[in-house]
């Protein structure tokens, strides 16, 4: 095969038909460009929405659930073991809220290779007191620095810093909704009351905004020790353990293992957010369906233009064959034209897509639900560019294949005699 000659002929054909070549290449550019733009924008939005839910959500949430015993006393009675049992008015089993031996469990989990971190929390219901009004809410005791590192707490603090909370003994990070209701500012004091009736003044060190208004209207954070003190509990009083894993896929088996080992309830992220996963999958599906449609349209454009080119070049094909070029040579001439169009169009498309995506990334996008997002999110994953380029080459190969196959089969005698 004499590639130099073949490529030279292909190049000459493309250059003499520069307009058609440009149109065909622009088709590819358009397809690949919109693919890159669309896919980086859509996955950017998807990632943002995922983060909104998943960043704050532990991969495994361990706690003591209040529930009735599975084995009621009746089932222990052998003589009725084959009978049908009806028990009325089952009550939940009396159980302590705290996790028994929480600190050794945390230590044990931290030593596991798959665990990035296991963080203790104390969740408790409290009332925020504003004059004579009591507003119900939740106060969560946390290790604030660890939470900031593992669960991106920092992103959701709109005023103040995690460090400020960490060093302030009686500090509270107040939900932004609560702050608005009670007209409070950073530095003010807020009084909270426990379910037992004890009242404590806490100093506001910052505001917290999750993006979900219902949460922001009830949720606040304080240091673990502060909450333990408010509740009058010892330092080993922990109600929840949040585990972050290295691999999210391990959440389900790991949670089962923890349940069996410690006789606690452990919920993995996928079970907790099953419907959310479905949403992400469907959005990705739509993104890819639209992109592939665009690329297929570009492919048909190339097919069309190559077909026309071959009709125009019938004489050339006949001459090449008569002077000793084989059918394969002729096929390769037209295939390389398709591939050149695909290559140039594809590279341009990647550039156009990159520029457009970058541009979208600068458009302001502010919403109360997403405090940390200032512009539209785009995800410029190099894999998209690789995939876009491969698709440009594959689609031009396929759309060039049929016309070039036709050129290969053209009988020079019919053309030469036909004139």
């Amino acid at each position: 095969m004499n590639w130099k000659v073949i490529l030279n002929i292909a190049k000459t054909h493309l250059i003499t038909k520069i307009k058609q070549t440009a149109i065909a290449a622009l088709g590819v550019t358009f397809g690949i460009g919109s693919y890159i733009t669309l896919v980086s924008f859509m996955t950017g939005l998807n990632t943002m929405l995922d983060d909104l839910m998943l960043n704050q959500t532990p991969h495994i949430h361990i706690y003591n659930e209040i529930k009735p015993s599975k084995n009621q006393p009746l089932t222990l009675y052998d003589e009725l073991s084959n009978s049908f049992h009806v028990v009325h008015s089952i009550k939940p089993k009396l159980n302590q809220k705290k996790i028994h031996n929480a600190l050794p469990i945390i230590q044990y989990l931290e030593e596991d290779d798959q665990v990035r971190g296991a963080l203790p929390q104390i969740k408790t219901s409290i009332f925020y007191i504003a004059g004579s009004i009591e507003i119900g809410g939740t106060l969560t005791g946390i290790n604030v620095i660890d939470e900031a590192n593992l669960f991106n707490l920092r992103d959701y603090i709109v005023q103040g810093t995690p460090e400020a909370l960490d060093i302030t003994d009686n500090g509270i990070l107040l939900g932004i909704g609560l702050a608005e209701k009670m007209s409070l500012a950073v530095g003010d004091r807020v009084q909270v009351s426990t379910s037992k009736g004890d009242v404590f003044p806490l100093k506001i060190v910052g505001f917290y905004q999750s993006g979900v208004a219902d949460i922001d209207a009830v949720q606040s954070f304080a240091n673990l020790k502060t909450v333990q003190r408010i509740l009058g509990e010892a330092e080993n009083y922990i109600t929840d353990i949040n585990v972050k894993l290295k691999d999210i896929e391990m959440a389900l088996p790991m949670s089962k293992k923890i349940e069996n080992q410690f006789d606690l309830t452990a919920v993995d992220i996928k079970t907790a957010n099953a419907q959310f996963e479905t949403g992400t999958t469907v959005r990705n599906l739509i993104t890819y369906a639209v992109s592939i449609t665009l690329l297929i349209v570009a492919g048909f454009g190339i097919y069309n233009i190559l077909n026309m080119l071959i009709y125009e070049k019938m004489n050339d094909i006949a001459i090449l064959k008569a002077t000793g070029f084989s059918g394969k040579d002729v096929q390769y001439i037209f295939m390389s034209q398709a591939m050149i169009i695909g290559f140039v169009g594809g590279i341009l498309g990647l550039l156009v897509g990159y520029v457009l995506a970058k541009f979208i990334g600068t458009i302001p996008f502010e919403t109360a639900a997403l405090p940390r997002v200032k512009t539209y999110p785009v995800n410029l994953n190099p894999m998209f560019f690789l995939f876009g380029f491969i698709f440009a080459m594959v689609s031009t190969f396929l759309s060039g294949y049929l016309p070039s196959k036709k050129a290969k089969r053209i009988d020079p005698v019919t053309i030469i005699r036909g004139q």
């Binding site: 004499n2 130099k4 000659v5 030279n8 002929i9 000459t12 054909h13 003499t16 004489n315 050339d316 006949a318 001459i319 090449l320 064959k321 008569a322 002077t323 000793g324 070029f325 084989s326 059918g327 394969k328 040579d329 020079p412 005698v413 030469i416 005699r417 004139q419």
Partner: protein, 226 residues
């Protein structure tokens, strides 16, 4: 007796469409080295069909074809392309140049395909062939910008580039005025005499045919005089 360059033995050819019809009936003849042969006959007698079979482009026939004592019939298409490239030069009625390329590139193309010489040698050869045909000044012009007579000379230069065993022409003067026809004939004659090239030319032109070494006359798919 001289060995034939090209020899056809008992060639039959049928057209299948629209109805089955025998175009060539038991054609047997040969061309010796250095011979200048013309084929004459009325339109539709099958002379062009025969030429395309002899040129290896048409492979749907019965019988045997030898080039330089080698059996051509039944060879695979790639091998046939190679044979056309190396051993056969072609000149058509409608000059058939690649219009997007320059005259020089047109002449060089078959040699580049053969790839037996370096590009510099090929270019040197091509300019040499254009000089033989008295058109070296056209080398850089585009093939679409030269006149009909000039095109035919370029086509002859292209046919010569790989120093073929035989040159075939399908009415190469059919589309030219008498002055240019004369020119083309003289070029053929010169090639035949000076370089000992074999030529096989299909023609309608009796003056042209009468000046060749030998006339093969065809009628209704048969050769009636050799």
């Amino acid at each position: 007796m001289m060995t034939p360059i090209l020899e056809a033995r008992h060639i039959d050819k049928y057209f299948k469409k629209p109805v089955k019809f025998q175009v060539l009936k038991d054609i047997s003849f040969g061309i010796n080295a250095g011979e200048f042969v013309s084929i004459m006959g009325k339109s539709g007698c099958g002379k062009s069909t025969l030429l395309y079979i002899l040129s290896t482009m048409d492979t749907a026939y019965e019988g045997e074809l030898y080039l330089n004592n080698e059996l051509i019939t039944g060879q695979n298409p790639d091998k046939l392309s190679y044979i056309r490239n190396k051993h056969i030069g072609f000149v058509f009625q409608f000059h058939y140049l690649l219009s997007d390329f320059s005259v020089l590139e047109n002449v060089m193309l078959p040699a580049k395909k053969l790839a037996e010489k370096s590009p510099q040698e090929i270019e040197y050869d091509a300019i040499g062939k254009l000089q033989i045909l008295n058109i070296p000044h056209l080398a850089k012009k585009k093939a679409s910008q030269i006149s009909g007579g000039e095109k035919q000379r370029v086509a002859i230069a292209r046919a010569l580039i790989n120093s073929p065993s035989i040159i075939m022409g399908d009415e190469p003067t059919g589309n030219l005025d008498s002055h240019n026809s004369d020119n083309v004939f003289n070029i053929f004659k010169q090639l035949s005499e000076e370089q000992g090239l074999s030529l096989l030319i299909v023609t309608h032109d009796e003056d042209f045919a009468n000046r060749t070494h030998r006339i093969v006359t065809m009628e209704d798919g048969r050769i009636i005089s050799v």
